[in-house]
């Protein structure tokens, strides 16, 4: 079943032209987003490390790692929906809602963390299910559905919480956010790395993951080969909701409080990191291709650039403009790369 429904297999095409096989594979690696990003990260890191004192201090590395962890998780949440060719504007709203539910459970209800954390992640999945169900049943593009739901989720959350934050969380929450492994690495980054490995395996080896990719690549073909695309799309939105909830929890651990405004008005502040990381990492907006490693590298690049520019005392607001420019340059480079690959007959 899975074998017939996977997206076009590149290796199968390589068999047809064995002569070019080895060189084209190397070229493809060199032209891949992941390789390009790794090079850019290396250059940026070396440049900042040699010119800015304090950039490589243990504390700086710790905060950079923590930020990479959170931004990657936000990017993965969006990636889970981009797979289907859709998008989810409500990731920020879901993340904040889940964090607030966690705060309410842990602070007001006295629920132990071991229960409150899974409950909040499940809640995120539930909100994602609402999105997915509405998208599939109405047949309306996910842009407009999630535009409406981000407004509704955020509005209900603010209404119920009266815009008050939960800032008397159990002390374990803050200590988790501060926890370091090997003295430099944030626990949050480790969590993200574990999730990355799990997601890669999920998309590569499980039936559900392959079906998600197939649905995104060509929904009609997937439907004809027996995949229930409606359910798959709903599942993608649920996964996005759960990942967004996890990102919200990680942000709560970093801040030490569940704050309604932690993702800005309507959760809009998450939109840029959410799209930047996957798009830089080579996830196709039209669906059907994901790159978990690329998303991680994309978030790492953005975080290193932001931290470096901040240390150089470039105003916080100009960095916002820089990130917009990076996004623009990233999509333009991607276009160019695809053109080159096509001209050489590699795709």
């Amino acid at each position: 079943m899975t074998d017939t429904t996977t997206s076009p297999d590149i290796d199968a095409r390589d068999e047809l032209m064995p002569a070019r096989r080895r060189s084209s594979r190397l070229l493809r690696l060199l032209l891949s987003n992941e390789f390009g990003l790794a090079v850019m990260i290396a250059i940026a890191f070396t440049a900042f490390a040699t010119t800015l004192p304090g950039f490589t201090s243990p504390f700086s590395l710790f905060t950079i790692g923590r930020q990479i962890g959170i931004d990657t998780m936000i990017g993965l949440a969006m990636m889970a929906v981009i797979v289907t060719g859709g998008l989810d504007l409500s990731v920020g709203a879901i993340g904040v809602c889940a964090a607030m539910v966690f705060g309410w459970l842990a602070q007001s209800m006295g629920v132990p963390l071991a229960l409150a954390v899974p409950a909040a992640i499940l809640f995120g999945g539930l909100l994602g299910f609402i999105n997915g169900y509405a998208v599939v049943r109405s047949g309306v593009h996910s842009f407009i559905i999630t535009l409406a739901s981000m407004s509704i989720f955020f509005g209900v959350m603010i209404f119920l919480s009266k815009a008050q934050s939960f800032n008397a969380l159990p002390p374990e929450v803050t200590s988790l956010g501060k926890m370091r492994i090997f003295g430099k690495v944030s626990l949050l980054l480790v969590i993200t790395l574990v999730v990355c490995v799990a997601l890669s395996a999920f998309y590569r080896f499980t039936t559900l993951g392959r079906q998600m990719l197939a649905t995104g690549a060509n929904a009609r073909a997937a439907e004809l080969s027996g995949i229930r695309t409606g359910r798959i799309i709903t599942a993608c939105h649920m996964l996005a909701g759960a990942l967004a909830a996890l990102a919200g929890l990680m942000l709560t651990a970093r801040t030490g409080a569940a704050v309604p405004s932690m993702a800005g008005h309507l959760g809009q502040d998450w939109l840029l990191p959410a799209f930047l990381a996957p798009v830089l990492g080579g996830t196709l907006l039209s669906g059907g291709r994901v790159s978990v490693a690329g998303t991680l590298l994309g978030a790492a690049f953005v975080t290193i650039m932001t931290s470096g520019l901040l240390l150089m005392r470039v105003g916080e607001f100009w960095i916002l403009a820089c990130l917009g420019l990076i996004l623009l340059l990233a999509v333009l480079t991607d276009r160019l790369r695809q053109k080159m690959l096509r001209a050489r007959g590699l795709i």
């Binding site: 509704i152 509005g155 309507l266």
Partner: protein, 323 residues
């Protein structure tokens, strides 16, 4: 009889107009101060600005795209408008022209990138949103400009006659202009054709690249007008102007029957969409309901309108099949 009623409801604006009438009647019955001349003035001022914002999104929806950067254009123009008057003493009329030029140029540049690269408007306008918002905050450092000349303040504060504010004047001009553009001018028809079916439009000789740039330039110009109207209304050059345009700019055209895939929009419908949103926002204030509920209501309104549009599409499709 029923055929006439049916045909009437085929017009996009009839449904929203009815909802407006019922809402006005109901709220003024419960709360007579709703129809006080002061309240009407406030309501019309809000409608005027929001209508121009909605039209800025409408022209892009007609093209079958979306513009996330609308608020960023408006905000940047608003603070530049006040800044050049305060710091360089530019006369207000010249400042309006410069503001309009900035908005149109920003829109045209965004449209150029989208049209030439063929990358989805979503991602390009998301990038444009960050760039223009970043420039805005970088210039102002998030501090407002206070030096708004008296004539601009008066424009936002005074009435033409009775409870009708001056702000309504640009709204009427822009609305009529947009209707004329979409229904009578070649570029408007081109925009709708590209929105309806880009391939067919291209094959029939329409310059899709040029049309896209035009549409985004118009959108940027309208955002500029709305931003400057908001400066007049708020009496201050706030860097946060435009931050909350995103949801309402989509809600009003969709309530007015616009098809998000492009090619079908209604200026009159959008107007009643704007009125519905303004009435609901006002009613929540009048009945002292938590202002955050507005967010929930706006989201629910979008879903409701999308549902209605979908239902009408299915009905039209069935009707065509039966024939």
């Amino acid at each position: 009889m029923s055929a006439t009623v049916n045909r009437l409801f085929d017009n996009d604006w009839v449904g929203p107009a009815l909802v407006c009438l019922i809402a006005i009647a109901g709220i003024s019955w419960l709360q007579p101060s709703f129809l006080s001349s002061f309240n009407i003035f406030v309501l019309l001022s809000a409608i005027a600005v929001n209508m121009v914002v909605a039209l800025g999104q409408l022209v892009i929806i007609a093209l079958g795209q979306m513009n996330l950067a609308l608020g960023a254009f408006g905000g940047l123009v608003a603070i530049s408008f006040v800044a050049i008057m305060e710091l360089y003493g530019v006369p207000p009329m010249a400042a309006v022209a410069i503001g309009l030029a900035i908005g149109t140029a920003a829109g045209a540049a965004t449209g150029f990138v989208i049209a030439r690269t063929g990358i989805s408007a979503f991602i390009i306008t998301l990038a444009a949103l960050q760039i223009f918002k970043g420039i805005n905050l970088g210039i102002t450092e998030a501090q407002p400009f206070y030096g708004v000349p008296q004539v601009v303040k008066d424009f936002g504060n005074l009435a033409v006659i009775g409870p009708i504010p001056w702000l309504v004047v640009p709204m009427v001009i822009v609305s009529v202009g947009m209707w004329y553009l979409l229904n009578r001018l070649r570029i408007g028809r081109y925009i709708l054709a590209v929105g309806g079916n880009p391939t067919a439009a291209e094959l029939s000789g329409i310059n899709v690249t040029g049309t896209t740039i035009w549409a985004f330039a118009i959108s940027g110009g309208l955002a500029a007008i709305a931003g400057m109207m908001l400066v007049a209304r708020l009496q201050i050059g706030q860097p946060t102007i435009g931050d909350d345009w995103l949801i309402s700019s989509f809600a009003a055209p969709v309530i007015g029957g616009a098809v998000l895939a492009g090619g079908h929009v209604s200026v009159a419908g959008t107007f009643f969409g704007v009125v519905i949103i303004a009435i609901i926002t006002q009613a929540l204030v009048l009945f002292a309901i938590d202002p955050f509920v507005v967010q929930i209501v706006l989201g629910a309104l979008i879903l409701w309108a999308v549902g209605i549009n979908r239902f009408r599409e299915i009905r039209v499709a069935r009707h065509n099949e039966a024939r």
